[in-house]
Amino acid sequence: MVKKIQIDYITKIEGHAKLYVKIDEGIVKDVRMEVFEGARLFESLLIGKKYDEVPIITSRICGVCPQAHSIASIDAIEKAFGHVPNKSIETLRELLLIGQIIKSHTLHLYFLALPDFFNKRSVIELAKEQKEVLNLGIRLKKLSNEITTIIGGREIHSITNIPGGFTKAPTDEELTTLQKNIKSSLEDSLEGIKLFSSFSVPDYSNKTEYLYLKKDENPNVKGTVICSDNICNSVEKYADLMNEFVEEYSSAKHVTIGEKSFFVGALSRINQTLIPDDIKKILDKNSILFPSYNPYYNNLAQCIEIHILLQKAKDLIKKIDVGEVFHHKITPKKGKAVSALEAPRGILFHEYSFDDKGYVTKANIITPTTQNLKNMENDIMKILPSLLDKPEEKIKFELEKLIRAYDPCISCSTHFLDVIWE
């Protein structure tokens, strides 16, 4: 029987991580997700920087979810300075965030996770046999890139969204075309749900706290309250809830609630969402029920979320008056603020303090992947005994599938440490 499982480079995820598992006489003794991405010390870097440099810097934390970081920064900066954006600017930011979530989900689902379900080593191998499936992914990817480019100026590290508003507004014509393209993509996103709900996943459930953001009593990508079935905590007091610590084997911090691990991400959000009938029909056919506490269903939850968010984007576009979208001058003042939003992988926190001239005096950022790391380790520990009679390669494959279902974003997870060069 296997005594040790070691995956030295977990592939098809964003960033660099290893898995190490120790087994003694059939009992799993130790599970470690070892993140070996170098530390980039973003929080230290931000100290002393002028406020308008902040979103440019934080967006570089991650190439997969840069818009989530820049929007969180801008939101916290405006809150700290007491600036309230107008409705059109607020809506455009929400639309950008939706584009960001769809873009990240599509990349993960169709380029990283999908080959697993066809027993292929990559999307390139998959393309040889399943060209149609892959083209579906490419079309959705293209649409999400279109959203982030029309609003943000480019696909990665957006340009136009800055504290105070946008440097450039999309034109009415661009928004009309976008609206049309979103409408014609809804068939694709529904196909995606059909595809992913047809894949069987291990029968497993682990009901930890599934956290999501809520605003005015509804789940919302930009929320004010951190919730689960048992928790209701204001965003401002996130630090009272989250216990951040360093594990000596990882360059990413870990987060728990008390001593317990928890889950954030698409599955958490979909568990709280009223699922529309057309989707429900597809799920019923495959006897899939939400809420679910099976992390393998995070993939399917991402598919469902793409469809629901596209519908929402269609409605949001109607509310934008491009004449109201410009760059308001904002005046710095001494203060601090927290912003929380639903990034593709779960709740993202940015907190800053500024001096009276708008220079950063303190910064704290907690990303979704760090919040999920402990839950991921615990799930591996729980699910592993049922796999131990299988050949080692098969065990590794199943564990990688579980890790990939979490869609970890390692670059995001490793910017935390404050270190000073002497």
Binding site: Y9, T11, K12, I13, E14, G15, F36, E37, G38, A39, R40, F42, S44, L45, I47, G48, K49, K50, E53, I56, I57, R60, I61, C62, G63, V64, P66, L107, F111, L112, P115, R121, S122, V123, I124, E125, A127, K131, I138, K142, N145, G153, R154, E155, I156, H157, I159, T160, T167, K168, V246, E248, Y249, E400, S411, L417, D418, V419, I420, W421
Partner: protein, 250 residues
């Protein structure tokens, strides 16, 4: 025979390799013309070399990064420093140049010795580079043309003109003249002036052009109210060491 291509990364944000995967309309066509033997972000089972062409993104930010960079160099016929982290070290390498370095709290987590943290540096500080494609992220069209040229065995040409050159071609109104801080006069314009075209001052993400006029740029921004401290923050953001080297000429 199709060239053996690798897309590798060390510490960074993965945004550079995404520009390749975001080629969308050209992606499947491109992938059919190469043998992508290693790309751990999108495939399991990756060859350890040799590679005909290796795109390497990220900066050297740990001992492991350094080992890997050397290994990839050894195994690659053509190695490309791909993106601003690889080319210039990017912002993680700027802490050393932090104007308020002394004010940064000396808060060190007790147990970080195991991380073997090293100061972030550029690839060219450690290994030989055949081509450099700067950009945070690199420009998709420039990347596509570069790959096409390589596959056709043409010598790839990369932009050396500053951002201002492309602003003029795009008939943009000068942002500095409107009081917006912009690093266009001294920054490599491989993006074809994408930020100024979006009405945002150039942030300098492609690094400085070799013959930049640092003094004139500083004077220009001073005239529109940019303090020396903020000016240094701006120019040291993406390519701190390159700036340091070039400034010594003044």
């Amino acid at each position: 025979m199709k060239p053996k291509v690798a897309i590798h990364s060390i510490t960074g944000c993965a945004g550079c390799q995404l520009t390749i995967y975001f080629l969308q309309d050209h992606l499947l066509d491109l992938l059919s013309k190469i043998d992508l033997v290693a790309a751990p972000m999108i495939q399991s089972k990756n060859s350890k070399g040799p590679y005909d062409i290796c795109f390497l993104e990220g900066s050297v930010s740990s001992e492991e990064d350094l080992e890997k960079a050397k290994e990839y160099r050894e195994k690659s016929t053509v190695l490309i420093a791909f993106g601003t982290c690889a080319a210039f070290g990017n912002m993680q390498s700027s802490l050393k140049y932090h104007p308020k370095k002394k004010d940064i709290p000396k808060k060190i987590y007790k147990n970080v010795d195991h991380l073997k943290i090293v100061e972030s540096t550029r690839l060219c500080d450690h290994i030989d580079i055949d081509y450099t494609i700067p950009g945070c992220p690199p420009d998709k069209n420039e990347v596509f043309k570069f790959i096409k040229d390589l596959l056709l065995e043409k010598k790839p040409s990369l932009t050396t003109n500053p951002v201002c050159y492309y602003c003029t071609l795009n008939e943009n109104n000068c942002l500095i003249e409107q009081g917006v801080p912009c690093l266009g006069p001294i920054t490599n314009g491989g993006c074809k002036a994408l930020c100024p075209t979006n009405n945002h001052g150039c942030t300098g993400c492609r690094g400085p052009i070799d013959d930049m006029n640092y003094t004139a740029q500083k004077a220009l921004l001073k005239r529109i109210g940019v303090s020396e401290e903020v000016f240094i923050q701006k120019v040291q953001k993406f390519a701190p060491k390159r700036f340091d080297e070039l400034i010594k000429r003044f």
